[in-house]
Amino acid sequence: MGRYVLRRLLQMVPVFLGTTFLIYVMVWAVPGDPFEGKCGDRDCPESYVSAMRERFNLDDPLLVQYAKYLGNLVRGDFGLTSSGLQVADRIAATFPVTLKLALVALAVEAVIGITAGVVSGLRNRGFLDSLVLVSTLFLISIPVFVTGYVVQLVFGLQLGWISPTVTSPTIGNLIVPGFVLASLSMAYVARLSRASISENRRADYVRTALAKGLPPRRVVGVHLLRNSLIPVITFLGTDLGAFLGGAIVTEGIFNVPGVGGLVFRSILTKDGAMVTGVVTVLVLVYLLMTLLVDLLYAVLDPRIRYD
């Protein structure tokens, strides 16, 4: 197990370097002046531009720039934004909000998705099964921003049940945005667990468990669920990473002060240090989540061993 984790961690290094380098090149190697418009309507004074080029190592070759950035990163220094703020501080201020939103979405997705999948998977070709299939079809087809605006319009503006924007990001306020963020993946989880359950419910071990007289509740809840949830767990794990990086749209609609809004503004204002910093954190989370998922496999399914 330990050697497997080590090998996986080592395999992550090239992927991490590749992804951050890709983003670094795209953000910093843009043709055009990165300090255009930073000083209002006038052109920036020579001294400012040269100081900025010095600070971001823009006069070095690209690979050297990237190596210097990485060197600082390893020491925990994310650098400064072009307006002189600490990138690490800004990330620390916004990241917990997005994490909270992503966790709410993950909980919504897991509870509703798995319940719907199990219920429809146990009753093949019934009314409930068709209902789940049709509603997941719709959820998959509606883009997240449409769901977001319709929910905001109907429940926020017309019925007045919820506040249309999130003023303070508490768990209670984040439930509706969490629903919107999770809507698409919820449908995938429901379909995945439905397929898995209906495939496994005729397996030999289920028949054995029923034959030895276990109550159906225990057969489904322990034997069937534990074996059927393995593909679902994979999906949920990688989804947490996707939620963190993909919350831009949802955060924009509901005005949640999270990482998504921060990175979107930074991209538009060409704040390269901020963009690379946020993407680095997101990639790291994504890679660690995939590792965690693979380790969870061994816990759920003792037949899978890593050595």
Partner: protein, 299 residues
């Protein structure tokens, strides 16, 4: 006895796709999906058939007019006729979806086929490169690529569309590549490939004549669903203001301009969103039906 059996086997044995077509023909869902797609493609090809007006005619005097007899879907903030624009917007969405799918499938499937067939260092390198692209969050990556490409300033219709297609393809090819790679690895160990090799067939002949026809089904299913997903992704990027933009007319562009007036003119957002959803739904339904037909286990 033989006389009774003969009429039963008079049909030629059907292949995988013949079988699939036979199963598809009897599915209602398939025909619903096909007719919606046919309608949208017709809209994209000949918008004049559905709406005779000019999609770029803006009259501020009729700004935010509600749906009525002369304008079925009402007018938006600029006084554009929403019905005309929705009809004309189909073309951009379909073109972006189609070109991105073709790009992703051609690039991804070719690379995946080679990686799966040859294996070894080629497979290792290609798989790591794919990991790098998958690691970039999709929306974030698309925003960064598009702002980089948009830095050029004002651009024509063709360039704007090409940029969106390029960014969608760059971020999505690993998915098609992984599907093709795993199918190719499974097919490579089959007897018919070994037999072809024993008969002295070259690698290129094995790939094109033997592996390709047997590996194309999973990628085909993916591409149908991906087409719908790309239309949705285009709308998302346009909604963020960095995908398609003026002078291109598309559903995403319309939703982007309508979102600030949601309180006073919700119809300006709901109609393009409805068309968008119906189109994506049609492609997802088609993909669902095709997958069920192609997978003998599900039949």
């Amino acid at each position: 006895m033989t006389e009774q059996i003969v009429p039963l086997v008079d049909e030629r044995p059907r292949g995988l796709f013949g079988d699939a077509w036979h199963a598809l023909r009897r599915r209602v869902l398939f025909w619903v999906a096909v007719s919606i797609i046919f309608l949208v493609v017709l809209m994209a090809l000949f918008p004049g058939l559905f709406a005779s007006g000019d999609p770029n005619l803006a009259q501020l005097s009729r700004s935010r007019g509600a749906p009525s007899a002369e304008a079925w879907f009402g007018y938006d903030n600029q006084g554009y006729d929403i019905y005309t624009r929705v009809v004309h917007g189909a073309r951009a969405s379909i073109v972006v979806g189609l070109l991105s799918t073709v790009g992703v499938v051609l690039v991804g499937a070719t690379i995946g086929m080679f990686a799966g067939f040859y294996g070894g260092w080629l497979d290792a390198v290609v798989s790591r490169i794919a990991d790098v692209f998958v690691g970039v969050p999709f929306v974030l990556g698309a925003i960064v690529i598009l702002t980089t490409l948009n830095a050029g300033g004002d651009a024509g219709t063709v360039r704007i569309v090409a940029q969106v297609v390029l960014s969608l393809s760059v971020l999505s090819w690993p998915v098609a590549m992984r599907i093709m790679r795993s199918t190719a690895i499974a097919a490579k160990q089959q007897d018919y490939v070994k037999a072809a090799r024993a008969l002295g067939a070259s690698s290129s002949r094995i790939i094109t004549k033997h592996m390709l026809p047997n590996c194309v089904a999973p990628v085909l299913v993916y591409s149908t669903i991906a087409l719908g997903a790309f239309i949705g992704a285009e709308a998302t990027l346009s909604y963020l203001g960095i995908g398609l933009r003026q002078p291109v007319v598309s559903w995403g562009v319309m939703i982007n301009s309508a979102k600030d007036y949601l309180r006073v003119a919700p119809h300006a957002l709901l109609f393009p969103a409805g068309f968008l959803t119906a189109t994506v739904l049609a492609f997802v339904m088609l993909g669902d039906a095709v997958r069920e037909a192609l997978d003998p286990k599900l039949r």
